[in-house]
């Protein structure tokens, strides 16, 4: 045991670089997989922590002002009813920007249920009657900070000035602006100033349930409606929100991110054993004589096998620990922060899944080493001469090429390259797999780049959005827009959150442009809508409604039943693709379908921020203009992941390359002595060695890049489809990029071969080499 430990220690020390690469590779794999699991599981959702710390309510009931809440206590399944508080709608006015606000009336003493978590400043104080506390994501979105003076407009036009004395988090609703209105807490007196009429306020009651699951909350929601004579125009129940809705809203709404990370994790999990196996086999081959000597000293075959396995498993454990630590650090350092910069500690790593990933990585390291270790156990204790590769005569092709006076090194090198089938195949695989994955990673990079460079491709042609809730009329707005020379087209639009049949979710029904002049969506299947009843939908919507292109649907949009024929599928980056698009004129005159926004397509080369500033100036700051968000912004972290993944893959490829070159040289270096004796100059000998090893690695490089080019678009599109954005998002690499990748890889291979052959060719004494091949350069 001690002997084994000593040998493992010195072996690791002697191969520091290789061991470091193995540890780094495994760490990267583990970190990527754990992060992916966390994203996909929603473990990065801050909701749970917030809910626990604020003692959140399972269900929030919004009743018309003045309604008694006593009936709620008697509902089956309700264990606790919070003291109701009043809330009133208002508008936060900041120049032309108006944000909807729900003003909650609270006391300086924090409530028992749904107590906001103050992150900065203080809670409400009696000594500061005009002090208010604003919710953190709302504060970040509107740029309101601690100490700011804000103006709130009541429904009937009263203007109240307030001062922000605190910023808090709550689990009562999702983050602004995904969830509106924004929340501000104020004292009762301040609330009364904004909304004096009690009956115009809303009473908010929080409930604790015995069964807080989805089924339980659905039952209680129904019971609440029933208790107040069912959902109807006259019911005092304005709305009911459940903890599931809040949880879903707070989750990172980008499934694509989780899936991409998972993809990289799995890619790495496939590449890692390949690298480990390659390195391990290489080591065994190089150390045949040392292993034979170990057996002569008294190591049993079983001991040798166990020793090698233990060595690699130890590296696996080290890499796994490092990977878990990296994942933990990444999540605690605000890796996923909702728009607000909420200071909430994220949920701990899901222990079961992390353990599974860790076990998988360690097992992978062990399995990858198993076969090389077993072969090491079978090495004979007699340090025999390295068996020479199967020889044979020169093929007719080789003889012909020599006749034609092709350089001898080229011919001999080519002949030597594939003499050993299995090691050559392993080398090709060892180089091809990492390169295929590098190609995939670069294609993802190029796809994300295309989101920014060519937003029209993903349905984001409109760079600016003008909201029609400002002081200007639609006529004035349109005039201003058409007058601007940087705008090439403008599309009026309206957007509605529409209930799914069965009321288990919503999708976005979006009307942009008219049926005859539609917004330039990216239709990738079917065709664009061209008449009043036609529409196109995103993949997410098709999945949600279980329909295909060509189906008819009849949703109720904004209270109006509409019949639509889905004629095409678009790439839809928003809302996970749960969007259906049609012309503004499809909504009949029954509902006043005045546009609520205008989507502006700018002329090519115009910077959206500059155009926004220009329009703002032209309108005297009376237009509410926002720059459209691009999924590339949310996917920014994927770029970081890609860089890390490419670095790891390059390391793996280099390790495999060096091992393969080493092993290949070892086979042929004793021939080098003979060649020199025959009259080849050292340079020619080196050229022979370089050619023989480079041919195999070059085959691997080309195979890998080709495989990557074939697989990458399919993989990325599949991810797009699964996440709801849609098949068709992948942007393939340009021919220039492919050429650059191939050139760089082949250059690397040649460099490795040159470096290693130079040493081998010059340190060889031809006579010694011919007589005692076992003396070849000790490594």
């Amino acid at each position: 045991m001690r002997g084994a430990i000593r040998w493992v220690r010195t072996d690791l020390r002697a191969h520091r670089a290789q061991s470091a690469v193995t540890v780094a590779v495994i760490a990267g794999v583990v970190a990527a997989l754990v992060l992916a699991v966390m994203l996909l599981e929603g473990a990065l959702n801050p909701w749970q922590q917030l809910f626990n710390r604020t003692k959140g309510a399972d269900v929030l009931v919004y009743l018309a002002g003045g309604t008694t809440a006593g009936q709620l206590r008697d509902l089956p399944g309700v264990t606790k009813v919070a003291a109701p508080y009043n809330a009133a709608p208002a508008t936060l006015v900041q120049g032309a920007q108006k944000s909807p606000v729900q003003l909650d009336g609270m006391t300086p003493k924090l409530p028992a249920m749904s107590a906001p978590l103050v992150e900065a400043g203080t809670w409400l104080r009696a000594s500061q009657p005009d002090g208010v506390v604003i919710e953190a994501s709302f504060a970040a979105a509107t740029g309101v900070g601690l100490g700011s003076r804000i103006v709130l407009d009541g429904v009937d036009g009263t203007t109240v000035r307030m001062r922000v004395i605190g910023i808090a988090d709550t689990a009562d609703q999702g983050f602004y602006p995904q969830w509106t209105p924004g929340l501000i807490w104020a004292t009762h007196s301040l609330l009364a100033k904004v909304e004096p009429t009690r009956s115009e306020t809303t009473e908010v009651v929080g409930l604790h349930l015995a069964d807080p699951s989805a089924a339980g909350t659905a039952e209680v929601t129904q019971a609440v409606f029933n208790a107040y004579n069912g959902p109807s125009e006259s019911s005092p129940v304005e709305r009911v929100t459940t903890r599931q809705q809040v949880m879903d809203s707070m989750a990172s709404d980008d499934r694509l991110l989780g899936e991409l990370l998972g993809l990289f994790g799995i890619i790495a999990l496939v590449a890692a054993p390949c690298a480990i196996a390659n390195v391990a086999s290489g080591r065994v081959l190089m150390q045949r004589r040392d292993l034979a000597m170990l057996k002569a000293l008294g190591f049993t075959p079983g001991q040798v096998v166990r020793m090698l396995l233990a060595e690699q498993v130890a590296l696996g454990v080290a890499g796994t620990a490092l990977g878990l630590a990296a994942a933990w650090t990444a999540t605690s350092a605000a890796f996923v922060r909702p728009a607000a910069g909420v200071g909430v500690t994220l949920a701990p790593l899901p222990a079961a899944q992390s353990a599974l990933v860790a076990a998988g990585a360690i097992l992978t390291a062990g399995i990858a080493t198993a076969i090389p270790a077993w072969r090491a156990g079978r090495v004979s204790p007699v340090a025999a001469v390295q068996p020479s590769p199967p020889g044979g005569h020169l093929s007719p092709v080789a003889r012909l090429s020599l006749l034609v006076r092709l350089p001898a090194p080229l011919v001999l090198g080519a002949r030597d390259a594939l003499t050993r089938r299995l090691p050559a195949a392993l080398t090709v695989a060892g180089v091809a797999i990492p390169l295929a994955m590098i190609t995939i990673a670069l294609t993802v990079w190029s796809t994300i780049g295309s989101f920014t460079a060519n937003p029209g491709r993903v349905g984001l042609a409109g760079a600016l959005t003008v909201y029609a809730n400002g002081p200007l009329t639609s006529a004035q707005t349109t005039a201003l827009i058409t007058a601007d020379r940087q705008v090439s087209a403008s599309y009026p639009g309206a957007q509605f959150d529409t209930l799914l049949p069965g009321d288990n979710g919503t999708f976005i029904a979006r009307a942009m442009g008219s049926s005859h002049h539609p917004y330039p969506l990216q239709v990738v299947q079917g065709r664009m809508f061209a008449s009043l009843e036609e529409a196109v939908a995103g993949q997410g919507f098709l999945n949600l409604m279980h329909v295909k292109v060509g189906s008819w649907i009849d949703p109720t949009i904004d209270g109006v039943p509409v019949i639509l024929h889905i004629v095409g599928r678009t790439i839809e980056p928003d809302n996970n693709g749960d969007v259906v698009d049609f012309g503004l004129d499809a909504l009949s005159a029954a509902s006043a379908s005045a546009p609520t926004f205008y989507s502006l397509v700018l002329k090519p080369g115009v910077d959206p921020a500059a155009a926004r500033a220009a329009l703002l100036a032209a309108s005297g700051s009376r237009l509410n203009i926002q720059v459209a968000s691009n999924p590339a912004d949310r996917l920014g972290v994927v770029r970081v992941v890609i860089v890390v993944a490419v670095v790891i893959l390059v390391l793996i490829a280099m390790a495999n390359l060096l091992t393969a070159t080493d092993v290949g040289l070892r086979d042929h270096v004793h021939e080098a002595g003979i060649l020199k004796a025959m009259g080849l100059t050292p340079r020619q000998v080196m050229a022979t060695l370089v050619v023989s090893t480079t041919i195999v690695t070059a085959i691997g490089i080309v195979a890998g890049v080709a495989a990557g080019l074939v697989v990458a678009p399919r993989l990325i599109n599949a991810q797009g489809q699964a996440s709801g954005m849609g098949w068709g998002i992948a942007a393939t690499l340009s021919p220039a990029s492919i050429a650059a990748l191939l050139a760089a890889a082949v250059a690397g291979a040649v460099a490795a071969a040159l470096f290693l052959s130079a040493r081998a060719a010059h340190t060889q004494d031809p006579l010694l080499a011919a007589r005692a091949p076992a003396l070849s350069a000790p490594r």
Partner: protein, 257 residues
Amino acid sequence: MRQNPEPCPARETPALLRARGLAKAYKSGGGSVEAVRGVDLEVSVGEFVAIMGPSGSGKSTLLHVLGGLEPATRGEIWLRGKRVDGLSPSAWAVLRRKHVGFVFQFFNLLSTMTVADNVELPALLAGATPKQARKRREELLEELGIAAKAGAAPSRLSGGEQQRVALARALANEPSLLLADEPTGNLDSANTRDVLRLLRRTHAGGQTILMVTHDAKVACLADRVINLFDGMIADDAKVVPAPREKATVRNFLELRG
């Protein structure tokens, strides 16, 4: 060097190593080739036996088989009174730890370990604590005159120094039997003298040595020389050094007589 035609002395010394009808065959080309054919051999405790013969006579093969590096095709081997020829590779390995030390022509030091590690490894393998192993290593390197090189990598040592390290390694566990395969075959004359001196000293300390060599000057050192030819023992006789007598007229007259 005169060969003594008299048989072994009557006093029975215990046989450390005994072989009966030993044979080893290799598969080669179409059929099999017997490198060792029916060898009978006995080595007593404390004896220094040299095995000589032309190349291809099976000397190294015999040594490998006696040390358990390769299994014998036929025959029996007894080491310290116990039958060992049928042992599995694992059992042989365990046996070698304590009882058999090897020295090779090409040194065969472990390349990834320093000199100190190389010499300590057998002791650790046999179950010594790191401290005991280190003490033993210091003793051995001191004795062999290479204590200064303890921390060096083997590839940085000269041939003679490497062979001394190999010798130290072989003696680390005080083995019953030291097997040396052409220990000076790869050394120049100065280093050869050094290594031979060390072997002689080791033998003087009571070590049983079985050495293969092609050099008669080296075989001089031994108590006994076995000559191998084509896999069989051609000659097995004790070595008695020529008596040093003064060159007197009497001897001269005897010769002429």
